[in-house]
């Protein structure tokens, strides 16, 4: 049997506060993406006045999480163990492109590329100070999902954001604003989105954003991805 090379994977990474979750959610509107890792327990939003902040959805992998508890030392695991962990949250793994997201992927980019030569790697970047401030704005240590215990305190959070960002900048020489269509094309995904009706059923956040900004789904999604520097390999 041919070795699994990750041709149905998008491996996503970004430091806390990089606004990666919103971007990933927007990317998941392509008809090609499998979002069967969604679960009513795997959600976090914050409303700041009338402004909804945070858009955490679906599985995250890493220490203190349901999945990928040892992903801070990915190099101590085997590829088979990692793939098995990838699959666990999906109720149906056998269709579409799966987006696997973990802050700890940033520390292991060469290894991930070696294991999954046919996967797309996507990284989200914002400057260190921005990430730290934004993460706090979205709730900081009060964020209930995903989980940040591994970062321990503000001092370590600042340090790890710096490290994760440095790893991303080293591995992704081009980090730029991209439209949703550009991202979908670079990821090899269909640019056809699920219908507006399906979007509203799928995630209640989008109708909220649409109303607040008085914009279409397409405009809201585009603005969401464009504001964060993105690199794709």
């Amino acid at each position: 049997m041919a070795e699994y090379e990750g041709d149905d994977l998008i491996i996503a990474m970004g430091a806390p506060g990089s606004r990666w979750s919103g971007s990933i959610r927007a990317i998941q509107t392509s008809v090609d993406v499998n979002t069967t890792d969604d679960d009513s327990e795997r959600i976090y939003d914050l409303v700041d006045g009338e402004m909804p902040l945070g858009w955490h959805r679906g599985a995250y992998w890493g220490p203190y999480h349901e999945f990928g508890n040892n992903f801070d030392r990915l190099d101590d695991l085997t590829k088979e163990e990692v793939v098995s962990e990838f699959k666990r949250p999906f109720s149906n793994w056998n269709h579409g492109i799966k987006i696997i997201k973990s802050h700890w992927f940033s520390y292991h980019i060469p290894l991930l590329r070696e294991w999954f030569p046919k996967a797309k790697l996507i990284a989200f970047y914002m400057p260190d100070d921005f990430c730290f401030d934004w993460w706090h704005k979205v709730g900081g240590w009060n964020i209930t999902y995903p989980h940040y215990e591994w970062y321990e305190n503000d001092e370590r959070m600042r340090l790890q954001i710096e490290i994760e960002n440095a790893c991303i900048q080293q591995a992704f020489p081009v980090l730029e604003n991209l439209s949703l269509e550009e991202i979908h094309k670079k990821l090899g995904l269909s640019t056809q989105l699920i219908s507006d009706h399906e979007i509203d059923e799928w995630d209640k956040k989008l109708p909220q954003l649409r109303e607040i900004f008085n914009k279409s789904n397409q405009e809201v999604l585009n603005n969401t991805v464009y504001r964060t520097f993105t690199g794709i390999q």
Partner: protein, 261 residues
């Protein structure tokens, strides 16, 4: 270098919306304002490349906005008499020390005589504008307070080849480049625009990237401020007046750019 006559076949709103931004870099690694700014520019910095094609790209060397026309001659004549030489000492009062140190390093390295009277233009900061010049400012609908300058480049003055860093405009948000402003993360949030208040005369030069502009009285331009190097000089015989407006965009600005006004 190619000559480019300012014209309005492209919608400035669409062009401005298409702009991209490179992530900020730390100033710690730089002792030159030009090199620091260049690190976040998407321009090619190659003298042999034609920039006419750039006008249809997401990194255009210049973006014509609109042609204004009204009788502002008397107002401009009066402003010209009030404008004062903008030397390095004058210009650094609006910025913070780190920015000034980097720029001074550049001047000294390049041989500009900043101790002996090098001036970029004669300038009035936040001039008291009368109609119809106030109308032009109002069209843009920038978030207040914007920065308005009346600049008149007198014969013999030149504005050195540079990239905009907006060290004065954005200092409240970023300090002395200690933090990123939101405009550093998305350059579309802030715009500098120039309105030429007189026809181009012989000996007056405005270069955007590899384009030498040909302008007429009333032409209004902007450019991706983080990307496009530019410089100007007046080796002619007559003053070259412009209105120089910088501000954060609002919905009104976008409406104006898209042609709603």
């Amino acid at each position: 270098m190619q000559e480019y006559r300012v014209e309005y076949s492209r919608n400035p709103g669409n062009v401005w919306e298409s702009l991209k931004t490179l992530p900020p870099v730390s100033k710690e690694n730089y002792n030159s304002l030009y090199e620091f700014s260049k690190a976040t520019s998407r321009y090619h910095f190659n003298e042999t490349v034609s920039d006419l094609e750039s006008l249809d790209s997401d990194c255009p060397a210049v973006i014509p906005v609109k042609h204004f026309d009204a009788n502002w001659n008397q107002a401009v004549s009066e402003l010209i008499t009030q404008a004062k030489p903008a030397d390095f000492g004058f210009r650094k009062t609006t910025r913070l020390s780190g920015n000034n140190v980097l720029e001074e390093n550049d001047f000294r390295r390049w041989g500009y005589d900043i101790d002996g009277g090098y001036t970029i233009a004669n300038r009035i900061l936040n001039p008291n504008l009368q109609e119809p010049l106030q109308y032009i400012l109002d069209c843009f609908g920038f978030e207040k307070p914007g920065i308005v300058k009346f600049d008149v480049q007198m014969p013999g003055q030149c504005f050195y080849w540079h990239l905009d860093a907006f060290g004065g405009v954005l200092k409240n948000e970023r300090g002395d480049f200690e933090k990123s402003s939101t405009s550093d993360l998305d350059q579309r949030e802030v715009m500098r625009t120039i309105i030429f208040l007189d026809d181009q005369r012989l000996g007056q030069v405005w270069q955007q990237g590899n384009l030498s502009l040909r302008w007429s009285r009333g032409d209004c331009i902007t450019w991706p401020w983080r990307d496009i190097p530019h410089g100007t000089c007046n080796y002619g015989h007559t003053p070259r007046p412009v209105l120089n407006i910088t501000g954060k965009l609002t919905d009104k600005t976008w409406d104006f750019l898209y042609g709603g006004i």
